[in-house]
Each structure stands twice: as structure tokens, then as C-alpha cells.
């Protein structure tokens, strides 16, 4: 089991389980990759433009471990 912190932003925020607060959802999972988590939480894969693990951009198949902080973003921009 790994305790992870899932952080969803922009339009993805509303898709997290109800207990999430301000887009942050902490939970324990048996899954071993970000993809597993995304499937477990029923998040839309096609909307995940940016995936960050502990602040570093990764791909969907990235393995996870206890204590990871995972940020998920749809396409965004500004400047």
C-alpha cells in the first residue's frame, strides 16, 4: 500500500472524490503506477495534459511509491 497525494487542477478539480479539499486528495492505494491511480479514481486520461510527480513532469505509466505527490493538469497557459 502506498499513501499518495493526488492534486487535480483547473477543470479536473471537480472530478476528484467528494472528500477531496481544494483539489487535494490523500489516500492509500494498492496501485503501482499513476495510470493505475487515474483509472482507480475514474479520471479522464484524454484530459491529462501535464502529469507531475513530486514536481517533475512524468508520463502516465510512471511508477509510484509511498509519499508521492502527484499533480494532474488539463492543457493550461497564460503568461
Amino acid at each position: 500500500m502506498a499513501k499518495v497525494e493526488i492534486r487535480c487542477f483547473a477543470t479536473l478539480r471537480d472530478l476528484l472524490p467528494f472528500e477531496a479539499k481544494n483539489g487535494v486528495y490523500k489516500y492509500e492505494t494498492r496501485k503501482t503506477t499513476i495510470e493505475g491511480i487515474v483509472e482507480e479514481l475514474s479520471l479522464p486520461k484524454d484530459k491529462l495534459h501535464l502529469i507531475l510527480k513530486n514536481g517533475v513532469r512524468v508520463e502516465l505509466n510512471e511508477p509510484i511509491k509511498d509519499g508521492d505527490r502527484i499533480g494532474l493538469f488539463p492543457p493550461i497557459g497564460g503568461g
Partner: protein
């Protein structure tokens, strides 16, 4: 089109034919060329030898989407180099419709509070003592009363009159509010030094913009609109959350400069995020999306109401929220919105002013996070131009000098904005090498570094950053010539049909036969003359460097420093 010129030293106005070599230029290409041709690089920026050159972009005034951006060129009192500052609002379209290729303001008047009125009959100077000391909101109200509700007002607030080196020039938006600005480089002080308080533009009865080939223009412009609207950033994200949506991504990526560039994460960043802002705006009946000029289809702007549901400010941007927020460790959006309103009204660049406060917070006189004291300084010191107010309004570099602080995040005298160059190295290259001083817009490497737009380059590594920054600096200079909002770049970088359709629009409008290669040639030409100007003003390689602490101090959470070698940085301008 004509070049309209006003000489404030002897109150003379003139309309001149456009010299052939200026014909294909607009926006930044034209402002930088005129400054290069007409201004001695060694002058004092506040002397009567400096000029302000306003030029609408090549496509401004047409129905090309989001094409209402205007450039002003000058010698900056902040960087002491050449400056192009770019603004939205309604000025660009109005000037273009009146047939103004460029407006050159030169000399300086012995009397202050002059108003330059521009309409279909030409230009004239008037004097209005009642404007003295007024903020941009009141200036606009008074001038609309006098000259009509639909005029555009370009004005300076008290900061410009006090010649503070962070002073901006305000431009009114579609709702007649002075919330768009030529923000960077302190050009409000140049306008103040000339005695010019405002420019009133009335495009009523103007002949409009002439199109050589209307059908071809329509087709190209329709195609371009489709590309913009079809891109997830320019077609959707900007409108939904504004630019402030970047707070959370930069925070997540560990590149949100916090407490004067000490860490890349701000614990309570979300309180100031685009998501929180949008929710707050909706709850209070403001507008989460707003266009700064008619015809902008991206609508990244907004209207922010206070707790009572009353209008407070508009165009609350990522950089502003960062400058008064994470950079000063303030996580109260209402205070930040108040500071934004204050900067717009008094006429100060929000980035420079926020960073100024953060450097002042390094002294014993103020603590980080003290929002009440920031407010007090705005209300009591800056507004009335006390010595402290004058210092804070004169930029981070000056504050460091006056108070003996060596942690000053500036390049060429201009404050580094909202992306830490250690964790977003591509933009670090831009900060260091741009002719404009530290300026994220000059080569927005955040695209490929963080946003996965226009490719992917690891933001924490040094590989590829120089090429990325160079390409973007060239492309940006070209886009700043068209009058298109830089945010079209999100679509341009990802869709190869976008640039050709921009070229098609220009060709259809002017009857030219430019091709895509000419665009990058133009971009390079602009950077070359800007750089040459700066060299003549005394700039050397040593000015193309970041402050030392970015090299020596590691930035949490990634614990990275800025490790690009000096000779690598020097390759940026090799083209």
C-alpha cells in the same frame, strides 16, 4: 497611413509621409527602428531628447482576431536601454483606424498636464490643470466627460508625474477602465518628464483600415480564428481561468518564486490561484472572462469585485498575483486585488512594484507578509510621493541600493518576474539575455519547459534552453510587430498552419508577398538593432547575466541552481 509627430518643446504637431523603409514595419519593429534612428543611446531617459513612439501592430484595426496590441518604444529609465512595452486595450485599433502608422512624442514641455487629442482632423495639444495629481481612473472620467464617452484614454497617474522609475502608462479597455498598461520599463516617467498627462483618441469618423484583398483577408482571418479557438489553451483555458491558472502549475513544478526567490513553492499558493480567483469572481458577480479589446477571442482578462460585490479591479493577472502574493508571502487575494487596483490607478508596473516591496521586506523596516504595511505605503507614501513612496516606486534595484540589500532579483535594472530561472531554466536564459531586461514575455520558454506547448524541454536541465530561448525571442519580436496578442503563440507553436495564415493576412492587407521565412528574418532584424542600440548605450556581455545568488543558492524543492555557463548564454544572440 502617416506618421504623426508632436514636439512638446515648442508645442508643434505634424503629419509626415511614411518613409519607404518603415512601410513594412509595425508595432515593435517600428518603435525600435525609430528609437534606433532618432535617439542617441547615451541620453538621459528623462531628458527632452528621449522620445515615446507609439505604433499599432500591422494587423491592428482589422478584424483579425486578437490583433489590438500596441507597442510603445523609448529609452527606459529603469534599464537605461531600449524598451518596447506592449499593451492591450482599445488604443491600437483606434490609432490604426485613424491612419496612424506611428505617433512620435518628442521634446518636453515647460508646462505640465498637457493632453494630446487625436481624432480624424489630426492632433492638437490642450492644457488641463485640473488633471494634476489625479489617478488614471479619475483622469479617464474627466476626459470622457469632455471629449465623449467612446474615446480611448492613454494616461499617466501620479507615479508618472513624480517620474518614479516603475511608472506605467495606462490604456483604457472595452469598459473604459484604465486597466491595461504599458507596464514595464518605467515609461510613465518618460511621459511625465515630457509634461504629457494624457492622450485622448477619438476614432469617430475615421476612414478605417484599408484591405488590398478583402476576400483573401477574410479567408485567412477565418482560418486563423479557427486555429486559435481549436487550441485547448488559446481556445479554452485562458478564458476559463485567466492567466492566474499558472499559480498552481508553477507551484507544483517548484518554480513559483516565493519570499524573494528563496523557495519554489508557496505553501498557501492555492489561496491565490486562478481556480480560487475564478470561484471568488463568480460568487461576487464579477466576470471570470473579459476581452481587453473588441475582437479578442481568447479573453484572458477578468473583472474582480470586492466582498460587497462592488467593482474593485480588472485584468488581474498571474504576474501581479505572484508579485504581491508568493514573492511577498501574502496569500490574501482581496489585498492583492486592491494593490492591483492601486497600481493601475496611480500608474505603476505591478511586477516591478511587487518585487520592490519584496526587496524592502529584506530590510528591518518591514516583514514579509505584512499586507497592512504594503497597503499603508500605497495609501500614505506612494500616493503623495513621500521620499519612501518615491523610493518604493522606483524599482527593486534602487531599493537595494538605498537600503544596502544585495538580494535583488533584477537583470539590466528590471525585476525578474514570476518564474524562477533555476527551475525554469529556459526563461532564465531569456531574462539574462533579452534586450529588454528581465522580461518573461520576450521569450516565453515556460511553454516547452512547463506547459508542454511547442515541444518539451526539461526545465531543470540546461540542455536545449539557449536554442529554445533564442527561437522564442525571435518569434516574439515578430509577433509583437503584428499587433496580435502574444497568447496566440500557444496555437502558433503547436499548429504549423498558424504562421502561414498570419502571413496571408498581412499579405492580403498590404498587397505584399511575404513568406514565412521573412517573419523570422524580421524578428532577427528587430533583436539586432535593439542589441546594437544597447551596446552603444554601454551594455556588454556582463549585463547578460543573472544576479549571482541564482548560481550560488539552490532552490527548493528541486535544489537546483542556475548552471548555464556564461559562454552558453552568449550564444543566444548568435544568429
Amino acid at each position: 497611413m502617416k506618421i504623426w509627430r508632436v514636439d512638446l518643446s515648442n508645442h508643434k504637431v505634424a503629419q509626415e509621409e511614411v518613409p519607404e523603409k518603415y512601410q513594412p514595419l509595425g508595432g515593435r519593429a517600428l518603435t525600435s527602428q525609430v528609437i534606433y534612428d532618432e535617439v542617441d543611446p547615451t541620453i538621459h531617459p528623462l531628458s527632452d531628447e528621449n522620445k515615446l513612439v507609439f505604433a499599432p501592430g500591422l494587423l491592428s484595426g482589422t478584424r483579425a482576431p486578437s490583433s489590438g496590441r500596441i507597442s510603445v518604444g523609448s529609452v527606459s529609465p529603469l534599464t537605461k536601454g531600449i524598451k518596447e512595452s506592449n499593451s492591450g486595450g482599445t488604443a491600437s485599433q483606434d490609432l490604426a483606424k485613424l491612419g496612424v502608422k506611428a505617433l512620435i512624442v518628442e521634446g518636453s514641455s515647460e508646462i505640465d498636464n498637457l493632453v494630446l487629442v487625436i481624432d480624424k482632423d489630426g492632433l492638437r495639444l490642450e492644457k488641463d490643470e485640473s488633471l494634476k495629481g489625479l489617478g488614471n481612473y479619475d483622469v479617464g472620467d474627466k476626459l470622457r466627460n469632455k471629449y465623449g464617452d467612446s474615446v480611448t484614454v492613454v494616461s499617466i497617474g501620479p507615479a508618472g508625474e513624480y517620474k518614479m522609475t516603475a511608472a506605467s502608462i495606462a490604456v483604457t479597455d472595452t469598459d473604459d477602465r484604465p486597466v491595461r498598461a504599458f507596464g514595464r520599463g518605467g515609461l510613465g516617467a518618460v511621459m511625465g518628464a515630457k509634461g504629457l498627462k494624457a492622450i485622448v483618441i477619438n476614432d469617430e469618423g475615421s476612414s478605417g483600415v484599408n484591405l488590398q484583398n478583402e476576400d483573401a483577408f477574410k479567408e485567412a482571418s477565418r482560418k486563423f480564428s479557427k486555429i486559435i479557438l481549436g487550441h485547448p489553451v488559446s481556445g479554452e483555458a485562458l478564458r476559463t481561468y485567466g492567466t492566474a491558472v499558472l499559480i498552481n502549475i508553477l507551484n507544483e513544478a517548484g518554480g513559483l518564486p516565493t519570499k524573494n526567490f528563496r523557495t519554489g513553492r508557496f505553501d498557501t499558493a492555492d489561496k491565490t490561484s486562478g481556480e480560487t480567483m475564478t470561484e471568488t469572481i463568480k460568487e461576487r458577480g464579477g466576470k471570470p472572462s473579459h476581452a481587453c479589446h473588441p475582437g479578442c477571442i481568447m479573453g484572458c482578462s477578468n473583472v474582480y469585485h470586492d466582498e460587497n460585490g462592488e467593482y474593485l479591479t480588472a485584468g488581474l493577472e498571474y504576474e501581479t498575483i505572484w508579485a504581491f502574493g508568493a514573492q511577498c508571502e501574502i496569500d490574501d487575494l482581496d489585498y492583492i486585488a486592491y494593490f492591483d487596483r492601486y497600481c493601475d490607478d496611480i500608474g505603476l508596473d505591478t511586477i516591478e512594484t511587487g518585487v520592490s516591496f519584496s526587496v524592502y521586506m529584506e530590510t528591518d523596516f518591514m516583514e514579509f507578509g505584512d499586507k497592512e504595511e504594503v497597503k499603508r505605503i500605497f495609501d500614505e507614501e506612494i500616493r503623495s510621493g513621500t521620499p519612501l513612496g518615491q523610493i518604493i516606486g522606483s524599482g527593486a534595484d534602487n531599493i537595494g541600493r538605498v537600503f544596502g540589500i544585495d538580494r535583488v532579483p533584477t537583470v539590466k535594472g528590471q525585476s525578474i518576474p514570476a518564474y524562477d530561472p533555476r527551475a525554469v531554466k529556459g526563461v532564465g536564459v531569456t531574462y539574462a539575455t533579452s534586450t529588454q531586461g528581465a522580461d518573461h514575455t520576450a521569450g516565453y520558454s515556460v511553454t516547452a519547459n512547463i506547459l508542454k506547448v511547442g515541444g518539451e524541454i526539461d526545465p531543470l536541465k540546461k540542455e536545449g534552453q539557449v536554442d529554445l530561448s533564442r527561437d522564442l525571442q525571435v518569434a516574439t519580436a515578430a509577433i509583437d510587430t503584428t499587433g496580435l496578442c502574444l497568447f496566440v503563440a500557444f496555437a502558433v507553436l503547436d499548429n504549423e498552419d498558424a504562421l502561414p495564415s498570419i502571413v496571408d493576412m498581412i499579405n492580403a492587407q498590404y498587397g505584399t508577398e511575404l513568406n514565412v521565412d521573412d517573419v523570422s528574418k524580421l524578428g532577427k532584424q528587430i533583436l539586432k538593432i535593439e542589441r546594437e542600440f544597447n551596446e552603444k548605450a554601454g551594455f556588454t556581455k556582463a549585463h547578460d547575466r543573472l544576479p549571482k545568488f541564482f548560481k550560488s543558492e539552490k532552490l527548493p524543492p528541486h535544489n537546483v541552481n542556475f548552471d548555464l555557463e556564461d559562454d552558453k548564454l552568449d550564444e543566444t544572440y548568435k544568429f
